[in-house]
């Protein structure tokens, strides 16, 4: 995208019917570190790449627990993500207070989208520079949504956002049709695999990725680093084996959990 005379304010349309400031905000999401989400009928997994500003600093937090049944992964301006997480947590708490039941995921994402839309139609505001993958479970089942700065949202079986996310999307597109039948462990494994795709050559270790899961009998929580490292190690053993795609496809149907190696 190049600078043009319609991109100064979010309240200015271009002749082609575009709001450039909103599109620039979506660019900010594309520049952020990758985040992926996958959904089966009973679980939703989120995985992110944790970047650190330098070797001296700590890693950015990109996954937030919103409630026992909902969590989000963000890509883009993490400060905006943090503020939105606080808003989402508040909405969940207020709903539970009044209705004594968890806020359905679809209602939450609509509120988030409405909040984002407000910032696309005020001259004194700017759009949020963060994309959120909202993972949650409610009475209607497991859900994964993507909320973007424009205020629109979509439900997905699997999705990836952030830098080099196209590689992860390609990987997920090949396999998403069977995600509904996946076991919990298979879902986690594929999430880590998808994250690996975004690294494109860089070494995958548990210290640079965060994985979180929510399930029917499982409150939203981050998975322990040790467990992630074990899965990564088992993935590497499989890759050293002579067959390329074959071991992966065998995995999908096998009764053994991938970690039983």
């Amino acid at each position: 995208m190049f600078r043009n005379q319609y991109d100064t304010d979010v309240t200015t349309w271009s002749p082609a019917g575009r709001l450039f400031q909103v599109e620039y905000a979506m660019e900010a999401v594309k520049q952020g570190a990758a985040a992926v989400g996958l959904r089966s009928t009973s679980h939703v997994v989120l995985a992110t790449v944790n970047t650190a500003a330098s070797d001296l600093s700590s890693h950015q937090r990109k996954v937030f627990k919103i409630d026992d049944h909902i969590g989000v992964a963000i890509a883009g301006l993490t400060a905006d993500g943090r503020v939105l997480s606080r808003y989402l947590r508040n909405e969940c708490i207020n709903h539970a207070f009044v209705y004594e039941s968890p806020l359905p995921v679809s209602r939450l994402v609509v509120r988030l989208a409405d909040k984002a839309q407000v910032c696309t139609q005020r001259s004194w505001k700017r759009p949020f520079g963060v994309g959120l993958l909202v993972a949650g479970l409610d009475e209607t089942g497991a859900h994964l949504y993507y909320n973007c700065p424009s205020g629109s949202y979509f439900e997905y079986q699997a999705f990836a956002i952030g830098s080099r996310s196209q590689a992860a999307k390609t990987f997920l597109e090949r396999r998403f049709e069977s995600f509904n039948t996946y076991s919990r462990d298979e879902l986690i494994k594929d999430a880590i695999f998808a994250i690996k795709e975004t690294l494109q050559g860089d070494k995958l270790t548990s210290s640079i990725c965060t994985v979180a899961i929510v399930g029917q009998d499982e409150a939203f929580h981050m998975i322990d680093q040790k467990v992630i490292q074990e899965i990564i190690n088992s993935m590497e053993i499989k890759e050293d084996a002579p067959a390329d795609q074959a071991p992966l496809q065998e995995d999908k149907g096998s009764e053994e959990a991938p970690m039983d190696i």
């Binding site: 947590r89 508040n90 708490i93 207020n94 539970a96 207070f97």
Partner: protein, 221 residues
């Protein structure tokens, strides 16, 4: 004499007791919910687990009790999101006091006892009035049967008595089992003479291994 038609409170009766030990805390409350001379239900819990190491027992108007519990539980959730840990008992004690005083001019009609373990693992009991005045003590009782129970506790738990000066180390030297037995005894006694106390007593014990609950039958009359 004009008839007052704006009385929005109700006393649902009941009694709460708590005793702090060196590494445990016992909190107990009966399970009877009454109004006037009638019983609404014999199985109503007045106890709420606010945090890992913090339990609230409330007597008074149960509508306000429910609202207060929900309020504190929501505030605790916010605290956990912000601080990534559970609230300590003394922190919750201050929060409860502030919450009660917030409604100084339309109070929660509740008489609370907060019990748990402090950050050192020692038992702590905080006792409140309806508008948030509170004090850390070694033991306390609130509610309709409190007047019958406090003198007995004073007698049995003299060392942590708030009557002693200078204020000593508040916790009782009794063991956990002895404290639970004492609580059962005082409830049985209060049940004899207080019409609002009876049915069952719910006893909650907090110690390093977690929260344990037991129920004991009381006289139903």
């Amino acid at each position: 004499m004009a008839l007052r038609r704006d009385w929005v409170y109700e006393n649902n009766g009941g009694t709460c007791v708590a005793i702090a030990g060196s590494d445990y805390c016992v909190i107990a409350a009966d399970t009877r919910l009454s109004v006037g001379y009638s019983i609404y239900t014999r199985e109503f819990s007045k106890i709420c687990n606010l945090a890992d190491k913090c339990v609230l027992a409330t007597s008074g108007f149960q509508g306000d009790m429910k609202a207060l519990q929900k309020n504190l539980a929501a505030r605790h959730l916010i605290y956990q999101h912000q601080h990534n840990k559970q609230m300590s008992c003394p922190a919750m004690a201050q929060l409860l006091s502030n919450t009660l005083y917030y409604k100084r001019f339309f109070p929660y009609y509740t008489f609370n006892i907060l019990g748990g373990l402090d950050s050192n693992g020692k038992g702590c009991v905080f006792t409140y009035d309806a508008v948030g005045s509170y004090e850390r003590v070694g033991y306390s009782a609130q509610g309709t049967g409190a007047g019958l129970i406090i003198p007995v506790l004073d007698n049995q738990l003299k060392s942590p008595s708030p009557l002693l000066l200078p204020a000593k180390d508040a916790v009782t030297p009794l063991s956990e089992a002895e404290a639970v037995d004492l609580v059962k005894d005082v409830f049985a006694s209060a049940t004899e003479r207080d019409i609002y106390t009876g049915d069952k007593v719910e006893i909650v014990v907090i110690n390093a291994s977690g929260i344990r609950q037991e129920l004991m039958e009381l006289r139903k009359d």
